[in-house]
């Protein structure tokens, strides 16, 4: 029975992967900027599904929250603010399409060939059956890694590495500061320009 043989993990992977790829292609082919944004939201959400499927539930939630939520709202803001009839559809010359498609195809070919070149990558995890998605509890570990403690790598012999080097405290801090700077910078860049009234005009 076909259905009985279905590997549900693979099934959902296929589902989300098709969604992600399909909507990504939708982004590519659509000329309406708002629709592109919508397709992108769907693609990113499907990617989040892929993340959940791969056991990275925290990253998936993060993807939904920040990427899909935050970024896309920002993007849609931009879309709406700059969307006028004449800007929504901007035709690209056919030659460039062909060129881009050729280069992209070449790239895609390289990547796909590469993906199947290493046997280890194409071999499923032999213990996959014994693992459950519901068991993926990496949130605590990620949180600990952010404050510099690697719970998942306790076997590291080097005490120094275990103590500090293996954690992600410094990158976390850097990214935090970076975000702050970016927020201020973006607010500054996008601030409303005050028009100076010409005297007498």
């Amino acid at each position: 029975m076909l259905l009985a043989a279905i590997n549900w993990h693979s099934f959902f992977f296929l589902f989300f992967a098709l969604l992600a790829c399909g909507f990504a292609v939708g982004v590519l082919v659509s000329t309406n900027i708002v629709r592109m944004a919508f397709y992108l939201v769907m693609s990113l959400s499907a990617t989040a599904g892929l993340f959940f499927l791969a056991g990275a539930e925290f990253v998936g939630a993060m993807q939904l929250m920040i990427y899909v939520g935050g970024t896309m709202v920002l993007l849609i803001f931009g879309v709406m603010l700059t969307a006028r009839e004449r800007f929504i559809d901007m035709q690209t010359p056919g030659g460039q399409w062909v060129l881009a498609a050729a280069a992209g195809g070449l790239f895609f070919f390289i990547l796909v060939v590469n993906a199947f070149q290493v046997p280890d990558w194409s071999t499923p995890n032999p213990h996959q059956d014994q693992l459950s998605i519901a068991e993926s509890k990496t949130t605590t570990q990620i949180g600990a890694a952010f404050v510099g403690v690697r719970l998942d790598r306790p076997e590291a012999d080097n005490a120094t590495q275990r103590a500090g080097m293996s954690g992600y405290l410094l990158p976390f801090e850097i990214v935090s500061v970076h975000l702050l700077v970016v927020l201020i910078g973006a607010a500054y860049l996008a601030r409303a320009k005050r028009r100076v009234d010409q005297p007498g005009s």
Binding site: A5, N7, A17, L40, F58, G70, T82, T138, I142
Partner: protein, 111 residues
């Protein structure tokens, strides 16, 4: 190989990532709308993220990147958000200055 019955592997994820990546690249290469280019960038980053997650997933490989994959993906997400904010601000500024967001017309510095 039956996609529905065989367990999936890292390679499958990589193919999805490749699709997103290449679509993003082509998107960047063909969209004249600055926001379209921005969306292409998001797709590219997402495609890369999929690879990180896949290599860090213990469901797909016995020997994985472990947490590092997820952490890097997280950083990519956060930085992508930051990048989107700045890029959007730039796009708005560009729009304010040029009354268009056509990147083909952003050639003031053309030699």
């Amino acid at each position: 190989m039956n996609l529905l019955t065989d367990p999936i592997t890292v390679s499958h994820y990589m193919v999805v990532g490749a699709v997103l990546f290449v679509v993003g690249l082509v998107c960047m290469g063909t969209k004249r709308n600055a926001l379209g280019v921005l969306m292409g960038i998001e797709l590219v980053l997402n495609g890369a993220n999929i690879n990180f997650i896949a290599f860090g997933s213990k469901y797909l490989r016995a020997e994985t990147l472990g947490l590092d994959g997820q952490l890097i993906a997280l950083f990519v997400i956060v930085l992508a958000a930051a990048e989107a904010a700045v890029a959007l601000a730039i796009a708005l500024n560009f729009y304010n200055n040029h009354s268009t967001i056509d990147v083909d017309r952003a050639d003031d510095l053309k030699g």
